[in-house]
Amino acid sequence: MNSVPTQTETEEREMIEAIEAMLPRFAKHRSALIPILQAVQQEHGYLSGGAMERVAEYLEISPSEVYGVATFYNQFRFHPPGRHQIKVCLGTACHVAGGDIILENFERKLGIRAGETTPDREYSVERVACVGCCALAPVAIVDGTVLGHMQPSRVEGLFVQFQVEREREEREKAEREPGGEQDA
């Protein structure tokens, strides 16, 4: 119940409308539950509380049941993905090599838990199973790029990099916008 994030109402409404439109494609039977949830997530990136309630209504089952099923599977997300998506591998090799420490580093740095998104929607952190490059364990995937031999210091470094990037973007934006501060 408490893991459902607050979000702008318009976004939620649009999401529900889109779901409304696709629901008739599916049989009105409980066996369609997982396919529907998958379709919703594929289109919107995550399952919002309202979305799960709408699906429950359509299938004539309780919202609790939908929630119970959805939270059972690792594949479902309940928070919108962040602008930067961080995935930490906790497959066997990475686990043995201390992947959980890396995950904890990200979690502590961002003040969120695995599966969550920072309130400013900048970052989301997820745990994933073996991504197929065990020789590089422990592995993190940041915005699609595989980072091998992760270390706590590299986690720090990453955020410095993000920070620099953001500052550069802001500067460029300011330069482009007329009326923004400009160094003559």
Binding site: M52, S64, F72
Partner: protein
Amino acid sequence: MIRITVDGKEIQTEQGKTILQACLENGIYIPNLCFLETREQPRASCRLCFVETSDAERPVTACTETVRDGLDVRTNTEAVRRLQRTAFKLIMSAHHCTPKTCPVAKPCQLMRIARHIQVGLNPRPLETLERDVQEEVDLTFFTYYPFRCVMCGKCVDVCRDRNERNPLTFAKRGFDTVVTFFGSGASNLPCDDCGACVAVCPTGALIPKPPPSES
């Protein structure tokens, strides 16, 4: 009416009953946590109700086996106790027992089982499992204490039986599993008049909230 023998004593029961039901109704205690009379399909998840019978080579769970005339049941063999003790210790490794602050009337069911199978309330030699869950969770009409929950599922089952739109559910999985509600309709749930889940909880994991004071 059919007759079965339990630990050398003959008892009468009816066709279709489970061994566990027959024994409990005749005042013979068999440890159990997840058995719910009203359930057609027993969950058989606590693994505490083992007995040996003349029908099977190995111990069986008494809540899943039905009686037949002439069945010979033994509830206290070495093999049975070994299984029960292991199951109990596994349960106790996740159930943090705090008798001083626990609101359940003592002896609680866990204490009763511990005494019956002659083990302590600690999980030793197993480790205590530190689950990554909240200390207490506000579920509107009652408070849920994940550390006391033994996942017997009785609350979820009675809720499903009583209420068409069963509000109570298990969520997540593995060591993260919790009992919870979901949905925006939580405030108009039938919980106020029902309370079946709280009544059926064997461990004090669901505790009703004190009624709102009239001040």
